[in-house]
């Protein structure tokens, strides 16, 4: 290490501001260099002289007087708060605690606003929305799809066209055409099998209607839910003799339905028409090679009873 560098660092050495390795190097250098050792002695002497001017404490009187003066000044000083304290709930609570008048005011304003709102609603004074786009009724509907978005050129106004789905309810007798139409629609509701079962149950009571029978046949052939298909079998039972399409749907279910319960129900459904050629052909096929033993036996029983009658 050069003497110049060492002498520049002697001040840092005496104030304890050197890292261990630098201090070690300088201390080693001082052992061998008389010029730097003289400089080191001079620095130490200066340090001792400067330290002889004591770091004095302020007098107790001065401190007390300063505290008192500050205490008085704080009474008239506003504390500026950072933006985050606007949202600080503890500050709000403290404000409420120390400001009962403010708390009472908020309560009165809230009560008045609530009363006025109820008055408006009860007297049908709902004003149109200032935007003129979404009215209160449509605001309760859920948005089904956005069909178009366009912006007026040169402005920040945007026009959005959308479809809404709004929940409504209605009531009436089973003879009401509107109710029947809704039930037929419900029978094909693909979302909720429970709704299909309920509607099927009600529709079976009015199976004389060709539209209802159509819906039941459709359900027996295509509905994914076996419970719904069972209901359709029940509903179609009384028409199997007179309607060939019902008979065909029953045979189809008997042969191909994935659910064994539906197939067994179809056997009972077709019992009145077991003499029919297509039905007998189906029973023969099942009696000889169906994988389900019960269906084989039932089919054989149907064929045997028919033979006895003959």
């Amino acid at each position: 290490m050069k003497c110049e560098t060492v002498q520049e660092n002697l001040v840092l050495l005496i104030y304890g501001e050197l890292a261990d390795d630098a201090r070690f190097q300088i201390e080693n250098h001082l052992q061998d260099c008389s010029e730097c050792t003289r400089e080191w002695q001079a620095v130490r002497q200066f340090h001792a002289q400067a330290s002889s001017l004591p770091a004095l404490e302020p007098t107790p009187n001065l401190l007390a007087a300063s505290r008192l003066r500050l205490h008085e000044a704080l009474d008239t000083t506003e504390q500026s708060r950072g933006w985050r304290f606007i949202f600080d709930p503890i500050v709000w609570l403290r404000q409420m605690r120390f400001s009962p008048a403010l708390a009472a005011s908020i309560l009165i304003i809230g009560f008045t606003a609530g009363t006025l709102t109820m008055w408006d609603v009860m007297h049908g004074n709902l004003r149109p929305s200032p935007t003129g786009v979404i009215n209160p009724a449509s605001s309760q509907a859920s948005i089904a799809a956005i069909s178009g978005i366009s912006q007026e050129p040169g402005t920040n106004k945007v026009q959005i066209k959308y479809d809404t789905v709004q929940q409504q309810s209605t009531q009436g007798s089973l003879d009401d055409p509107k109710i029947q139409q809704l039930l037929l629609y419900a029978a094909r509701n693909q979302q909720n099998p429970g709704v299909r079962v309920e509607s099927m149950d009600l529709l079976t009571k009015r199976c004389g209607d060709p539209r209802v029978r159509e819906a039941l046949i459709y359900a027996l052939r295509y509905d994914k839910n076996p419970g719904v298909r069972l209901k359709a079998v029940d509903g179609l039972q009384s028409y199997v003799k007179n309607d060939v399409r019902v008979r065909d749907a029953g045979v189809e279910a008997l042969l191909y339905d994935a659910n064994q319960g539906v197939r067994i129900a179809a056997i009972h459904m077709l019992q009145p028409v077991k003499a029919d050629g297509s039905v007998r052909a189906a029973f023969r096929q099942l009696a000889s090679k169906d994988s389900n033993a019960f269906i084989r036996r039932e089919s054989q029983r149907m064929l045997a009873s028919e033979a006895n009658i003959d």
Partner: protein, 238 residues
């Protein structure tokens, strides 16, 4: 001293004496300065913890919490202001202005540095402004103007345990004090402040750099220049 005892004493000091900075003060200065003891470090951590609770309370408008913070640091603040301005009146003004400024802007304190660094930064800036405005002053660092305008020596306020036993030594100390006071007047306000913070307040150069919003390297260079000037001035006075 066992570490636990140091801890106990430091915590006690916060309550009864409010001696102020428990932060990055050096244990002692000199080439063989010992590193801070474990107990001291624990007390520093406790001090920071206590401060942050008090600061948050004060930020929410709790005046008592702010006054507790003031009592912890105000003696050190007043001492620094008194030494740099050499006037009780000016020191009191700086004390007042520093804490009012801290109170007003405490809501913006982001805990990016310790509270003592923050308040010391305010005080040193006020002192620097004061020193720049009053470059030429009659009194030296060893003589203080009290509220009545009359001068008295700071050295008169010190009780030397050997005072009276050796009047000659006492006189020599007074002479040396005057010389150092005159030498300090030759420094620029910034050099004067850095030397004061390092030599008399015992702060780390890194902390001094933070307070003066500069780098540690700049603080080192300023300290080096200050000591060179002071040595030169004292040599001339022999």
């Amino acid at each position: 001293m066992p570490a636990e005892m140091v801890l106990h004493l430091r915590v006690g000091a916060r309550v009864h004496q409010h001696t102020g900075f428990a932060g990055e003060l050096e244990g002692e200065s000199g080439p063989l300065a010992t590193p801070p003891m474990r107990g001291q470090m624990v007390s520093q951590a406790l001090s920071r913890l206590d401060d942050s609770v008090l600061i948050r309370e004060a930020q929410r408008g709790n005046r008592a919490a702010f006054e507790e913070l003031v009592r912890q640091y105000d003696q050190a603040v007043l001492r620094l202001a008194l030494r740099l301005t050499a006037s009780e009146h000016d020191a009191q003004d700086i004390y007042q202005e520093a804490f009012l400024k801290a109170y007003r802007s405490l809501g913006n304190f982001r805990f990016e540095c310790s509270f003592y660094t923050w308040i010391y930064r305010i005080v040193t800036n006020l002192c620097l402004d004061h020193l720049r405005k009053k470059k030429v002053r009659k009194e030296d660092a060893g003589v203080v103007v009290n509220d009545e305008g009359s001068e008295y020596s700071l050295l008169d306020q010190v009780e030397d345990e050997r005072s009276g036993a050796n009047p000659e030594r006492d006189l020599m100390r007074r002479e040396l004090g005057k010389k150092i006071g005159l030498a300090l007047k030759r420094l620029t306000p910034r050099e004067r402040t850095v030397f004061e913070l390092k030599h008399y307040q015992g702060l780390k150069l890194r902390t001094i750099g933070e307070m003066l919003e500069t780098t540690e390297e700049t603080a080192k260079n300023t300290l080096f220049r200050a000591t060179q000037k002071l040595r030169g001035a004292l040599a001339e006075m022999r």
